[in-house]
């Protein structure tokens, strides 16, 4: 029997589900292996009977917690997809601001009606079995993870930084191009895709387990960033992991 798969979204942009919907041919091959029972991007129906739940977006409201717990109860395997779900993502940027202020900015007059709290990754609420990091996720990595799950294997997420892939791809380092990169502390797995395209790593896959943050900041400053800008580099994606809760 094919495993039943469902997709859910919380606070995020749905960019990750779009990546999945855009897999085209590969998706067809993949769909041969699974049965999608719920996926807003490409279908209307919804079904509560599923084996694998892919969850996108971070948890930003107390009310979301019950829905997450319900998904955990229904699913055998829960997979967090995209930075918002895996590490709190860019949503956690707001954790640096006063939350009342955030409510005011987002909801204006009706702010009092909405209840928002520090944005957090899914595993702050429920146990998560597998992660597809990235903002947006890398389609190939998504396929890798699905393949692993279908084979009964825990998907392997590297615990080394983006520099490893960047070196293998023989890129010119961003610092040598006069740019600033947080690849040395960011978890690899994206095949250093942004640097391959001539840009930098913004850190969308989150920190590795034991990042040397001081050294990274020192390097950013040594190459010319101000202290504030160096700290800003860490805020963009690492907020929740840096303990900003």
């Amino acid at each position: 029997m094919k495993p039943k798969v469902a997709f859910f979204d919380f606070a995020g942009c749905e960019g990750d589900q779009l990546q999945v919907a855009n897999l085209e041919e590969d998706l067809l091959t993949l769909l041969g292996q699974v049965e999608v029972v719920s996926f807003r991007e490409i279908m209307k129906e919804h079904n509560e009977d599923y084996d694998i739940a892919f969850i996108e977006g971070s948890c930003t409201r107390l009310q979301d917690e019950d829905r997450l717990k319900q998904i955990r109860k229904n699913a055998k395997i829960v997979v967090a997809i995209g930075s918002c779900a895996t590490i709190g993502g860019i949503n956690a940027l707001k954790n640096y601001k006063n939350l009342d202020e955030v409510r005011q900015i987002v909801y204006g007059e009706s702010a009092r009606l909405f209840d928002t709290y520090a944005a957090r990754p899914i595993d702050a609420i429920i146990p998560v079995d597998a992660y597809v990091h990235g903002c947006p996720i890398d389609r190939n990595e998504f396929l890798q993870v699905v393949k692993s799950l279908l084979l009964g294997k825990k998907p392997e997420v590297p615990n080394y930084p983006v520099c490893v892939e960047c070196k293998k791809n023989e890129n010119i380092c961003a610092f040598d191009r006069g740019q600033f990169c947080v690849g040395p502390v960011t978890r690899a797995g994206c095949n250093s895709c942004c640097i391959n395209e001539g840009t930098i790593c913004w850190g969308c896959r989150g920190l590795i387990d034991n990042p040397n943050e001081n050294s990274q900041k020192e390097i950013l400053i040594k190459y010319g960033l101000t202290v504030d800008d160096a700290i800003g580099k860490f805020k963009l994606y690492f907020g929740w992991q840096e303990g900003k809760r």
Partner: protein
């Protein structure tokens, strides 16, 4: 020596490109840096480069390489398709020496067919350096000029190149594809000599002492933890220094299934000892857990371990590590200078290292493709451990010695090293006792009788059974450590008359974790074997009549003659120190203590670097070691 005009040289390159027989690779510009890449025409060549981002080793040992492809359903595998031979144009002398270093590694003990297939079919056209990166210190390492390892070697003489022909292959290539090649005149030969002398003075780096002292300096510095901590404080564990190094060869092996889940590629990818998980095993133990220990390992590997093994310092001075390390702590020149001054200031005199006696032998090729085998019996022993009986499909015996291990493939998932748990006296099949801890072992537990697995091996050094004959034996097993010991223990029991007094001490955490409990019960009834078991604790609801306490509490309970007894010890990493201390307290001589060690493993044949403890490879030199041989090896116990 030959001479060719630059125009004719371009024609030569274009002629090579035109002949579809060759993959023509050369140095090209990449932004304001340089990289080796496929050439479309001779104009792309930039022989005036300083250094390439990655060394040319990527053509022999690629970043990602398919070792073979197999069918997920039945494990049957196909060979890789053959690749075209290559010509690589513009290799600097230090990179040529580095390839020579790689050759030694990949041919030692067993030859790596994937590496040598490409190496042997490739023509190397070297070029003497016209520019040198500011980080380069090749002259100090004796690698700035070279008179071996190339097929052709170019020296730029303005409007023409001087060519040294280094091999018949090179000569033939030249006569087939190049026109108007003349013999060099005395003047040009002189010019080449002059250029080479200039190169020897081009480095902007400076060693404050003779590099021949490096191995001895390192020896003096190993325990200086403050030294390594100071230098590695800013280390990002980013691996850049090893990934760009032309002499680094460590790799990881992984399985990659296709989307239809029908075919699986087994790939190898570059890995590096600076990365956090390099020496970490499934139980969570990390044998090089801190940045300073990993940072130190790299320098020791280059400057001491490989020197002791091959007689050369495995750094060619290309300077790539220095230029790629963002916190600027990977420059060997700075590190070694600092080390020299530190040691010097302590008044320690260090002399140049003696070249070791080197004896490299190659016994055939490594087979990365496993042989097919079938699970013929499965005995669940505890919730986490199961005994599998496995039979080779071709009807052959595994042919192992007690204490050896095999690499077991679970198709679609990967490979894991597992000790053979049955004695060689058991014919027709063999047994492995497996604890589920990660991907391979978990999946193995779900396989049924009749399912297929892959087997490579047996690997490693087992117990020296002949040396143990007639001796008294004391087996000390902790937890899963019983698995490898059982291959020897059951052998001893099968040939009981050939051995003296035999004692087995066995401990685990709690009664329900006891492995081989039926066999143990039988053992307990045997008059010719002394058997004692212990548990660390006995939870309520479980029953236990034996000793309670850690394994060392059993040692005082047995009497033996320390000069006659041989102790054979295997268990979790924390156990060795305590057991060995107690044995020594009982006056057991060091060379009467035999241990079997566990480390992270990938290749099983001394190549991938994962299992290394200092200079020792557990997969090839062990896993069974005489304690007297490893007691001075700091990373061992």
């Amino acid at each position: 020596m030959k001479i060719i005009s630059k125009d004719e040289f371009s024609n030569f390159v274009d002629a090579l490109i035109k002949d579809e027989k060759w993959n023509v690779i050369g140095v090209k510009a990449k932004g304001d840096k340089f990289a080796f890449g496929p050439l479309e025409n001779a104009n792309e060549l930039r022989l005036d480069y300083d250094v390439t981002l990655l060394p040319p080793k990527k053509y022999f040992f690629p970043q990602r390489e398919t070792l073979f492809t197999y069918n997920l359903a039945d494990g049957s595998s196909a060979k890789n398709p053959e690749t075209k031979p290559s010509v690589i144009i513009g290799v600097h002398p230090y990179d040529i020496v580095a390839l020579f270093h790689m050759d030694e590694i990949f041919r030692d003990t067993k030859s790596d067919p994937h590496y040598f297939e490409k190496r042997n079919s490739t023509v190397i056209i070297g070029v003497n350096m016209q520019k040198m990166s500011k980080w380069n210190f090749a002259p100090y390492m004796g690698c700035a000029i070279v008179d071996y390892g190339y097929d052709l070697m170019l020296t730029d003489l303005g409007n023409r190149y001087a060519i040294s022909v280094g091999s018949q292959k090179g000569g033939e290539l030249l006569s087939k594809y190049a026109k108007n090649v003349n013999s060099a005149l005395a003047r040009d030969i002189q010019l080449v000599g002059q250029k080479k002398r200039e190169i020897m003075n081009m480095s902007q780096q400076k060693f404050d002492f003779s590099t021949e002292m490096i191995p001895e300096l390192l020896k003096e510095t190993y325990e200086e933890s403050g030294f390594w901590e100071k230098h590695a404080e800013k280390c990002l564990a980013c691996g850049s220094c090893v990934l760009v190094c032309p002499t680094c060869y460590c790799f990881d092996v992984k399985d990659n299934p296709d989307l239809a889940l029908e075919q699986v590629e087994r790939i190898r990818t570059w890995d590096g000892c600076l990365l956090e998980d390099f020496a970490k095993i499934a139980s969570g133990e990390n044998f090089r857990p801190t940045r300073p220990t990993r940072y130190r390992h790299r320098y020791f590997k280059k400057g001491k371990y490989l020197f002791d093994r091959f007689g050369f310092i495995s750094c060619v001075g290309c300077g790539r590590c220095s230029s790629n390390c963002l916190p600027n702590i990977a420059n060997p020149v700075e590190l070694f200078n600092d080390m020299y001054h530190e040691i010097h200031s302590k008044g320690v005199k260090v002399s140049p290292a003696q070249t070791p006696e080197v004896n490299i032998q190659t016994e055939g090729n490594i087979d990365y493709v496993p042989r097919l085998a079938t699970i013929i019996n499965k005995t669940v022993m505890t919730p986490n451990e199961t005994l599998f009986e496995i039979k080779m499909d071709d009807g052959s015996e595994l042919g192992h010695k007690p204490g050896q291990f095999a690499e077991i493939s679970v198709f679609g998932i990967g490979e894991a090293p597992i000790s053979i748990s049955s004695p060689p006296t058991k014919k027709g099949s063999f047994e492995i006792c497996v604890r589920k801890v990660g991907n391979v072992t978990n999946k193995l537990h779900t396989l049924k009788v009749g399912d297929k697995v892959g087997v490579r091996g047996p690997f490693g050094n087992g117990f020296d059974v002949d040396a143990l004959k007639g001796k008294d034996l004391l087996f000390v097993a902790g937890g899963l450590g019983i698995a490898p010991l059982r291959s020897l223990f059951n052998y001893v029991v099968d040939k009981r008359k050939e051995f003296g007094h035999v004692v087995l001490l066995y401990g685990c955490k709690e009664p329900r974790e006891l492995l081989f409990s039926k066999e143990m019960e039988e053992l307990a009834r045997r008059p010719d074997v002394e058997f004692k078991a212990t548990v660390n604790w006995c939870p309520d609801g479980e029953s236990w009549g034996g000793n309670i306490g850690v394994i060392t509490t059993l040692i005082p309970q047995v009497s033996f003659d320390p000069d006659k007894i041989y102790a054979i010890v295997c268990g979790p990493p924390v156990m060795y120190k305590y057991v060995i201390a107690d044995l020594k307290a009982r006056k057991v001589p060091d060379d009467h203590i035999i241990v079997s060690l566990e480390r992270r493993m990938k290749c099983g044949v001394g190549k991938c670097g994962h299992c290394q403890i200092n200079q020792i490879y557990v997969c090839k030199d062990g896993p069974v070691f005489n304690y007297s041989k490893i007691k001075g090896v700091p990373e061992a116990l």
